[in-house]
Amino acid sequence: MISRAQFYLLTVNFTLGTTLFVTINEIIQRGKRDAWMMPLWAGAYGMLAALLWILLLRSSPGKSPVQIAREAWGPAGVIVGILYLLWFCMIGAWALRNVSDFMNVTIMPRTPPSMFHVMFLLVASYTVVQGTETIGRLNGIVTPFLVFPFWTILMLATVDWDWERLLPAFQNPWAILRFPALLGFPFMETFALTMLYPKVRSGAAGALLLGLASAAMSISLVVFMVTGLLGPERAGRINYPIYTVVQEVEFGEIIVNIHSVLIVILITLIFIKLLVLLYAAFETIRELSRPAARWPHLVALSILLSAAAVVIYENPIQNRILSNKITFAYDSFYTILIPSLMLLSLRIRRAIQSRGRRS
């Protein structure tokens, strides 16, 4: 069992995970000067979606979506469970690939990508085996080390700040409509956290909603700062704008080249995202087949994920298409359609049962 605060921090870090360095340039490219509003709208949508999940989870307290699927649809629910398993693996592999791409482009160009994948999986598997409490506590311990350095570095960067880069403001508040992919990634992906939901002592719903809101605000603030520091023209074209922002920090003649600090923060954030996804996939397997051992499944999952990370996309262009065009529909299917159907059939089934009891 984990506490409400731990669940809140997990939600925030999971949502920030890969977002901070994968989509920032895409957001600014679409939204230009008003891009910082887009994460806010997307976050609001994410909270609405979360309300749906909470409704579903509250209808069968103590059960995860995979167990609810079995309750609602019986044996057919197993298929839903397997689908979720694949979905978690897909996102996990994608996060892994994003990290190896990032590392290859920025500071470690000669390390084979699989090295990153395997090392991440090794540590994540070990943590998952230790159980939910370890995940919650680990995340709680590392969060301060992520938050303070991250914002300190961004604050140091503000010496280059120029308000002109953000003007004229409020020209295009509905830019989000041009980039609906942001609703899918990262906000609908947070559905993976519902696998942890039943393990929260109390008040999980509030923590989830608050976490999403905080993450949306953070992304919005980061986009705002990146736009103010690089200008929408450069930030929209550079692959990793945050990295560039920090690279350009020059504070006196002493504080230069502090981007390695940022890299440590980013890879830790992605690690937490991967951790939650691996946990969700592992938990799905456990709930579907109730195995006695733990390690064999994690080894299998690691092999699957490390292979999927290599083949999930071939080049940056495919990656962009995957994230901009496909994720929204793909994530909607898993996080809106299936949960709605589950909720509906649960309601109908219960209505029929209660009518049967009454007569």
Partner: protein, 400 residues
Amino acid sequence: MSRRQRAAAAVLALCAALLSSCWDKVEINDLSLVSLAGLDRDPESGIYTVYLQVINPATGASAQDAPGGEQAPVYTYAASGKSLAEAQVTFYKLLPRRMFLHHTKAVLISERAAKQGMRDFLNFSELQPDARTSIPLLIVDGSIDEVMRTFTPLDWNPADAITSRLNLLHDYAMMTGRRIELRDVIERTEREELIVIPLISATPKTGDHSNWDVKAEINANRNQLRVGRRAIGAVIENYRMVGRLYENDLIMYHVLIGEKGQFVRRFPFRGGHITVIMKTKRMERRLDWKAGKPVVRLRLRLEFSTIAMKEYFPQTLDELKKLEQHLNQVFAEELKTFVDKTRRKGWDLLRIRSLLHRKAPNLPDPDQAASEAEIKIEVETRLRGMGNLGRLYDGAGGEP
């Protein structure tokens, strides 16, 4: 103590007289550590000149602040003789310490000696128990005397400077190969194959280049050594240098023989050009037969990154596919042109003959078959890596 024990103790004590201790010890101070060796042979008189660059121990890391720190890091000795062994012993007219060849890092041979043939020299070095043949062999373009008496800035020991440049040129430019050592020349030649080894030359001189004064010169393009002059590779056939390969040809040669590394290349594209950093991934050779003649299919897989692509940046999958197909086709054509050009010179750089020997050992006339063999080259490029831009800036004002 019994009498027996006493006798045993006495015998043991007497045995101590046989212990030799370190009677033939050689102090490091008594050795001259050779770091670079050079060889020249005058084709008319037949006289060998051997050059040895000996490390000056007073300039090592431990002697940085010692008196005499401002000394040359290496000293070049030269000796001549009718045969290599004679030249070798003649060194002691000049050399006060025992010659120590184990740490030699590279061997240089003058071009005229390489054109006459290097067999005798290679035999001699394989014969020496204390000389390794697993070190790079380079051919000097120009005067070997000048090259052996030239310092290299930054890495002051010329042998270190040469070997590290060979590695860098391999990793980042594919202008040198991994198989450039003495033993490779021997092995390849004994198998009747060609081998390409790097050339080295001295750059233009200002002032007294053999003096330490060059340390004060800012222009590092002068007064030092460079790999290659215009040509970078020397083609060796049968222990003789038979030709040269220039930059682009050398890259293609290394790609074709399956070296691993990355290189930069500019391809014609849409009326202009596109610069691509490519990484070799896989090379497969297949031998088929068509109407009694061998057909060699070379399949190359390369990955490229957008890092150098300042001219054009594909945005859709369709554009990317077109770019990849274009690169496949253009590069395959360029490779084919290169192969045809070298085959016309009679150079079997792709080692088709050995391939036939391995796959079809019973051919009556392997030379004939190798020269008749048809070579087909297929290239498959894939975009993999990326630079830090997702889209290029597109204002006017680029290269015309």
